[in-house]
Symmetry: C2
């Protein structure tokens, strides 16, 4: 098969995905649900951030999570323990990203009327998830202080398409060559609009700013701004 | 397009890849080159491990590197500084893995006669690269002590198809909940044959065992075992 034919096939699959994502977006909007697509490398701390968020903000904010995992239900079990409404979406055929049809199936198991915020925890991967619209209001990209601070330059599509960047594991700053200033400059050079938060899910430092950002984003969504 | 049709298309693309990979494998075998496909999450330290390896083993071992990157030439530039013969393979269309055609094009820029070991530094991603044969003798999967120790369970295909697992950043052990024992048990439960090495590219601890493994693997390859 020629590369051109393969690209055509991919385009068709993506366009079908976009139609499904658009239906999801309408459904979330009608119910005033803030939907966030959480993306990162494996191990940056998506599940830890969700644990901390569920543990603190529930039940005053009613939070649902669609936990994407290639193979296990480890994340779903961790989140179940932290509270919240968890639905697991194991990717079909071990795919490297969630798509809108998986999210559609997962939402059918959720009582959307009972939710304020829906997190979609994507598969750990900085490449493929950037291309797949899941009907979210925003992508939030996590990066941890133990990765390279050039990640925004190496995976620009993900940082360009995200609304916020959460820098996790700041308790480990200074133990590697990672520079907060460099990662922020790199990220802003790709996307000048990116909201940036620094925190440690382990120590709890900086989590308040993240919670504020969530409350503010929900408010903006509901006031239609 | 139906999911079935999409799967058929993917199968055809993979089978064409396997044919190219098989040609590469023959070519590397004829020249006695040990070829290793280095895979990991973004930020686990593939480039750092290669820097340390080039810095120490060159020129007594003649090492080439095909550095895969989605977008930048950051890794290729770091490796150039460390010595060795570096060819960059930026993935076509920002793909999330290298394929055998990219490696074929990259090898055309290398003097294979002048190499003992060829590293293929794959794109940082624990999912997709596991499916694409690049003609390598072995996959080596890196994992760092700041990721989750359940990674082998979450990304089993990658650990099943790897011959060795390098646990990097052991200088950061104890600063998170990562347990060496747990990650090893998890990895061995997926693949009982996995060779395991623990090291820190930053402190240098454990690098000797990795260098020994490289020398031993090259010797085995050349003695046809």
């Amino acid at each position: 098969m020629s590369a051109e034919r393969n690209i055509q096939v991919q385009k068709k699959v993506l366009s079908e995905n976009d139609q499904l994502a658009s239906k999801l977006r309408t459904e979330f909007a009608e119910r005033g649900i803030l939907t966030l697509n959480l993306v990162s490398s494996p191990g940056s701390g998506k599940t830890s951030l969700l644990e901390a968020t569920l543990g603190t903000l529930q039940p005053s904010l009613r939070i649902g999570v669609i936990a994407g995992d290639v193979q296990t239900d480890n994340d779903a079990r961790r989140l179940q323990a932290a509270g919240g409404t968890i639905v697991q979406a194991i990717t079909t055929g071990g795919a490297c990203h969630l798509d809108a049809s998986m999210v559609t199936r997962a939402t059918e198991q959720l009582d959307l009327e009972a939710l304020d915020v829906l997190f979609i925890e994507n598969v750990g991967n900085l490449v493929c998830p950037s291309s797949w619209d899941l009907g979210e209001d925003a992508k939030v990209v996590l990066i941890s202080c133990t990765e390279g601070d050039d990640k925004p330059l190496k995976y620009p599509a993900m940082f360009r398409r995200s609304s916020a960047m959460v820098i996790n594991k700041i308790d480990l700053l200074g133990l590697s060559d990672f520079s907060l200033e460099t990662v922020k400059n790199n990220a802003l050079s790709i996307n000048g609009e990116l909201g940036i938060m620094e925190l440690s899910c382990r120590s709890g430092k900086g989590l308040e700013a993240w919670f504020d950002w969530l409350h503010r984003s929900l408010k903006q969504k509901r006031s239609g701004r």
